[in-house]
């Protein structure tokens, strides 16, 4: 049993480093599966995937470039340390997403299994990044900015962004792939909603 004198331990630099490496590797591996299946997802990663499907440009680079404008908003709202952590995590995902396909390729993935697995792994990866105070920047920051300026809740503008993204995907991809993609996105958000709790994981 804990007593009142005990303090929640903080994360050391090494703790954070392994958290970020784990989180970004999980997200990048999940994205490799997603692209093998030809599925999409939400947020900036989803935008980058759609662009890479349409143009044939490598996803890692597109994701890296798509995120660049958001650092300015992140810097204005969240400060320099947050921007640095975000940049490191985005850069790691971009690099891993280009590296992993040279190391692993799938002979087959069942699309439903793949979509669920994508959701679990991305949820776990993001959870680790968030628990270590990191972020993948992107739409979330812009949404907070927008909330300050207009009063529109950040959650709604993020949802609207994903709705537009999936609407575009519905024109580009066959319907089953859009539905599998939705399953994956729902699983990601469930994993985070259930597990991202400051009252459970209390280390800073």
């Amino acid at each position: 049993m804990q007593n009142e004198d005990q303090k929640a331990a903080g994360h050391s630099l090494l703790d954070d480093a392994q958290g970020y490496l784990f989180g970004t590797a999980m997200c990048a591996f999940a994205l490799v599966m997603l692209r093998t299946l030809g599925l999409v997802t939400g947020q900036t990663a989803g935008l980058a995937i759609l662009i890479s499907y349409v143009t044939g440009w490598p996803f890692g680079w597109v994701f890296f470039v798509v995120n660049l404008p958001f650092y300015w908003f992140a810097y204005r709202r969240m400060g320099r340390a947050f921007v640095m952590r975000t940049f490191v995590n985005v850069a790691l995902i971009s690099a891993f997403a280009e590296l992993f396909p040279t190391l692993v390729a799938f002979e087959r993935i069942d699309p439903l299994f793949g979509a669920v697995l994508f959701g679990l792994m991305t949820g776990a990866g993001l959870l680790a990044i968030f628990r270590h105070g990191g972020s993948l920047g992107g739409i979330g920051i812009l949404a907070l900015y927008f909330q300050d300026a207009t009063g529109v809740k950040a959650g709604y503008s993020q949802l609207a962004f994903d709705a537009v993204l999936f609407a575009i995907a519905a024109f580009i991809l066959p319907l089953p792939l859009v539905l599998y993609s939705l399953v994956g996105a729902v699983v990601v958000n469930l994993v985070i909603a259930i597990n991202h709790r400051r009252d459970r994981y209390i280390a800073m």
């Binding site: 303090k7 190391l103 390729a105 799938f106 776990a124």
Partner: protein
Amino acid sequence: MPAPFPIPQNPPKHTLFEDVQGFAIGLITTAIGLSFITQLGFITGQTAGLALVISYLSGLSFSWVFWLINVPFYILAWFRMGPEFTIKSALCVTALSLLMAYIPDWMRFETLNPLFGIVAFGILTGFGLLGVFRHKGSLGGLGVIALYAQANFGIRAGYVQIAFDAALFAVAFFLFPLDRVLYSLLGALILNAVIAFNHRQDHYIAG
């Protein structure tokens, strides 16, 4: 480094739904990690490692061997750790065995770099076990014997587990090519590092 706020006196409890999703994520991820090494012919430590060695040598499926190997441990667990722990362990072991039987139908690798595969195994299975442990589950097995030895013979549980793994890898050195055993060792190290770094009651407090 202590954080500026105290650990709450009554840590929150997981609901049944939260436990079920914790076990689902933990076991699926553990199984995916194990799928990487079964494809590469690598081993690991503990009962899963013993089951891998037996399944490689006999040609029997890992799922059956792993499930059967764990049966004797339940008897000891029932008396030492109580029915709840034993039933949870049996359910987790059974779920993992089923997943390992079905995953090859759902996912197969065309190419898999051995270094990538073993690192992915260590990270995924380490993370998966962390999920299982944080929700007070277990994959039964050797840990129970180790605790029994600690209580009855005064040998520390950690040493019993290390001794088992040392014996398992020593046998593997004679049975399998050197590179496969060395890759396997790397995976076991990463797995244990993931758990050592993250399995901390002062970081994750829900019970």
